[in-house]
């Protein structure tokens, strides 16, 4: 309150001019420094985000970039290509010049599943290489704060009497597979309702248009009092304090459902990976330095996310995550694609 009020009296205008001037100056300086060194990167990097602006991927990319730009020495420019569960973004990304200046910020789970279920012809490892995993979060099944459902067991009990509706961002999503596994393990009736994005999906649960929602864990955590987490598709709940000490799905039901999570990762064209190994090395090195930088943990915390989700997996880890998602997608392909 005082912080905001004090701005009322003096420094806002100065802040405005200073901010604008500083931004121009910083851009000029960072450009000239990179140019003077004559090494990669010599100009800003372009980031393709295959979802809409303002979503979780956008948030996470910007949080990472806020620290990474100090390590890589240039700024990042964002382009958003939502549509067809991420396919539009991937196709457009693949059409860009493979020069390691064009990067993809991926949501590994849903996007790898999409590649399988929608017969895109895009192959991880042949077209795209994920070079660095930045975070990983489990899927969570949750209800709105005003929902009469208090526990996961109550939701499952309800599913025995009538089909329970569960909002999901899209059908090709690890959360959707989590719910299908839950149905398989309990014999309950669950209907997935895809809302085409995290925000409308969450809204459907809060307003109780649907009985429950399944989304990456950060979503209900960010909603705080508006959401009640019933279960987490993980071995342990890594953010108990932020989720009202929610149980894991297996703890709540005594099942042995596998973990379902989604990881954010930076991807590059396979052609760029092969042609510019030096550039890829710089990208990896600076990304790793960013993940180890305490400022990154601070930035994650400031965005309202648990630092427990930071998961600095290297290329091998990121590619292994993608491979396991592909396996899951193949198993549930018919249910997720309406085939």
């Amino acid at each position: 309150m005082h912080r905001t009020k004090s701005r009322l009296l003096a420094p806002s205008r100065r802040g405005f001019l200073g901010g604008a001037g500083g931004l121009i100056g910083a851009t000029a300086l960072s450009g000239s420094r990179a140019f003077a060194q004559g090494q990669f990167p010599e100009r800003n990097l372009s980031v393709t985000i295959p979802t809409a602006e303002g979503g979780g991927a956008d948030r996470d990319a910007r949080v990472f970039a806020s620290v990474w730009k100090d390590h890589i020495g240039v700024d990042l420019e964002y382009e958003y290509y939502p549509g067809a569960a991420g396919q539009v973004g991937y196709e457009f990304y693949l059409d860009k010049e493979p020069n390691a200046y064009n990067l993809l910020f991926a949501n590994l789970g849903p996007e790898v599943i999409m590649m399988v279920t929608q017969d895109t012809g895009i192959e991880v490892g042949q077209d795209i290489v994920y070079i660095q995993q930045t975070s990983s979060e489990p899927m969570a099944i949750w209800v709105g704060a005003e929902s009469p459902i208090q526990t996961l067991q109550e939701l499952v009990d309800l599913s025995m009497t009538r089909p329970v509706t569960v909002s999901t961002s899209r059908l090709p999503h690890p959360g959707s597979i989590g719910v299908l596994s839950l149905a398989e393990a309990t014999g309950g009736q669950f209907t997935l309702v895809p809302y085409g994005g995290g925000n409308p999906t969450a809204m459907a649960a809060i307003t109780q248009e649907v009985d429950a929602s399944v989304l990456p864990f950060a979503n209900p955590i960010a909603l705080a009092d508006q959401a009640r987490v019933l279960g987490v598709f993980a071995e342990t709940n890594v953010a108990p304090a932020e989720s009202g000490d929610a149980p894991t799905v297996n703890q709540a039901l005594g099942t042995s459902i596998p973990n379902f999570d989604s990881s954010r990762a930076w991807g590059v064209h396979k052609a760029a990976y092969d042609q510019f190994p030096d550039r890829i090395a710089i990208l990896k090195e600076t990304m790793q330095a960013t993940l180890e930088d305490p400022a990154y943990a601070e930035a994650v915390k400031a965005a309202g996310l648990p630092t427990a989700f930071i998961d600095a997996g290297d290329e091998a880890v990121a590619m292994a995550t993608a491979a396991s998602m592909k396996e899951l997608a193949t198993k549930y392909r018919d249910l997720l694609s309406g085939a």
Partner: protein, 502 residues
């Protein structure tokens, strides 16, 4: 923070102290809103690196002011050139442009500005005091109810088609068919995309909008020698006339208030937006008008209703973000990025931790509209002269600007091609008596209607009776039936009375 006299004074002073950021934002917003394709959302995205460098309250004030002003700006080309700057201004063309053609452009602009500012002022005040209650609207109006609301908008096709019902319905159906292109909402199966990736997300609205309206209008313009005003006498008013135009616009105060509230309520709903609000407001204003037959011919209420509604939406889209923590539209989503970037919590926690910032966003909106009032007078006087610019100069300028506008939102060259294709469709439609607005309504509302319908079906297990399952949906269905049948019943009664008198 209490919203008592002291609290309100603090808020007002705080927002007024931001005048130095509101004024440039208003100017940028009006200009960008007036250029088809740019609008608030794209402009805010473009300026995001700058706004992220500001303090969070300065950044939010800047974005809010720009957002409000862009909706006011969107009405300018809609009236003067039959080219809506934003989707929300498409309904304004229906009566705004006929007024301009009659040499009443200055009057139409005054009506549009006053409706926009008044609608914005009223809805921001209502939101300030009733935020938590407005947030509840989303709890009662869901996919099922949205289906009926979309049908209200589609009902406008029938109204537009009054002169030639068959052609109107064909145009509307053609628009709906185009709107059905793209990946389906459940399984993301591509339909009618001809393998073109650029169409996977459906027909892009802005290129369709500028093509149907702007390019086709420019082509029609090239066939005439003069300006777009068929009556040029009195096109540039004196100051006295300008003041008269502006103050006489206030006599539509009641229509402005209730259509603004329609916009506010629709704006609160996730997935809805200014386009649907403006169409519904226009359609309802016509239904409840004493002279519905004058709509579409240059009727003042036909300008007031959509302009007030689309400004009501600006306030409404912020409600879910502030009250729940979920953005109600794409512009609000960008605002959320700024809040997150600065580590400011949003949703109800924002009111607990940063009440001055939370309420300040709404008050900034109010102050932006107050400051916009000062821009209204010179704009209402001088902008109308655009209608006297000879077509041979105006048409190329329109085509150049609108093609840039078509390219800007997604930066696809493909979208320029879409704009040209829709321009040709629009030109042929105009020449053959098919209404381009009916096509556009189909393109805009078709996908929204389909999405709401499919969600309702999915939730209910494909039970169509779900569409009548809630009390609100039943009331909305009754209102829709009345809306569609009342005009015909009333005109029949009127005719019988006239016949019995003679």
């Amino acid at each position: 923070m209490e919203l008592d006299a002291a609290g309100l004074t603090t808020l007002l002073l705080h927002s007024l102290s931001m005048w130095w950021v509101i004024i440039p934002a208003v100017v940028v917003g009006i200009v960008m809103g007036a250029i088809p394709g740019f609008a608030a959302h794209n402009t805010i995205i473009m300026l995001l690196p700058l706004t992220l460098a500001f303090d969070v309250d300065v950044a939010l004030t800047f974005m809010v002011a720009l957002y409000c002003a862009s909706h006011l700006g969107g009405g300018i080309p809609a009236i003067l050139l039959n080219i809506p700057g934003t989707g929300g201004a498409a309904a304004t063309t229906l009566d705004g442009y006929p007024m301009a053609q009659k040499g009443q452009a200055a009057k139409a602009l005054a009506l549009s500005f006053v409706a926009s500012v008044m609608g914005g002022l009223v809805t921001s005040l209502v939101t300030l005091f009733l935020l938590q209650y407005l947030a509840r609207v989303g709890f009662y109006v869901r996919s099922v109810e949205m289906v009926v609301i979309m049908l209200f908008g589609l009902a406008l096709i029938a109204a537009i088609a009054a002169e030639d019902m068959l052609k109107g319905l064909i145009a509307g159906a053609f628009g709906l068919m185009l709107g059905a292109m793209g990946a389906d909402h459940i399984y993301a199966t591509p339909r009618g995309t001809f393998g073109m990736l650029e169409l996977f997300d459906g027909v892009p609205l802005v290129p369709a909008l500028v093509g149907l309206f702007a390019i086709s209008e420019a082509l029609v313009m090239l066939e005439s020698r003069g300006g777009s005003a068929k009556v040029s006498a009195g096109v540039t008013p004196t100051w006295k006339e300008t003041f008269h135009n502006i103050f006489s616009s206030f006599r539509h105060w009641w229509l402005t208030i209730w259509t603004g509230m329609v916009g506010l309520l629709i704006g609160v709903l996730p997935g809805a937006g200014a386009s649907i609000a403006a169409f519904v407001a226009y359609q309802q204003a016509q239904t409840f008008s004493r002279h519905p037959e004058k709509f579409g011919t240059g009727c003042e209420e036909g300008v007031v209703a959509p302009e007030s509604a689309n400004n009501g939406v600006t306030t409404g889209t912020l409600v879910p973000l502030l009250a729940i923590g979920i953005p109600g539209g794409s512009t609000a989503a960008v605002m959320m990025i700024v809040l997150q970037y600065h580590g400011v919590p949003f949703g109800p926690r924002l009111f607990m931790t940063e009440p001055l910032l939370a309420y300040g966003i709404i008050m900034s909106m109010f102050v932006s509209y107050v400051l916009m009032l000062f821009t209204v007078f010179p704009m209402a006087r001088y902008l109308s002269t655009i209608t006297t610019v000879p077509s041979c100069y105006m048409a190329p300028v329109i085509i150049a600007f609108t093609l840039i506008g078509a390219f800007a939102p997604r930066t696809f060259l493909f979208d320029i091609g879409i704009a040209i294709a829709f321009g040709v469709i629009g030109y042929v439609a105009r020449k053959t008596g098919y209404h381009v607005a009916a096509i556009l309504i189909g393109v805009i509302l078709g996908p929204l209607l389909e999405k709401s319908f499919l969600l309702s079906m999915r939730i209910s297990g494909n039970d169509p009776t779900v569409l009548f399952s809630s009390n609100i949906s039943k009331v909305l269905w009754v209102l829709l039936i009345l809306t569609l049948t009342l005009p015909a019943i009333m005109s029949r009664i009127k005719r019988r009375r006239t016949e019995s008198l003679t």
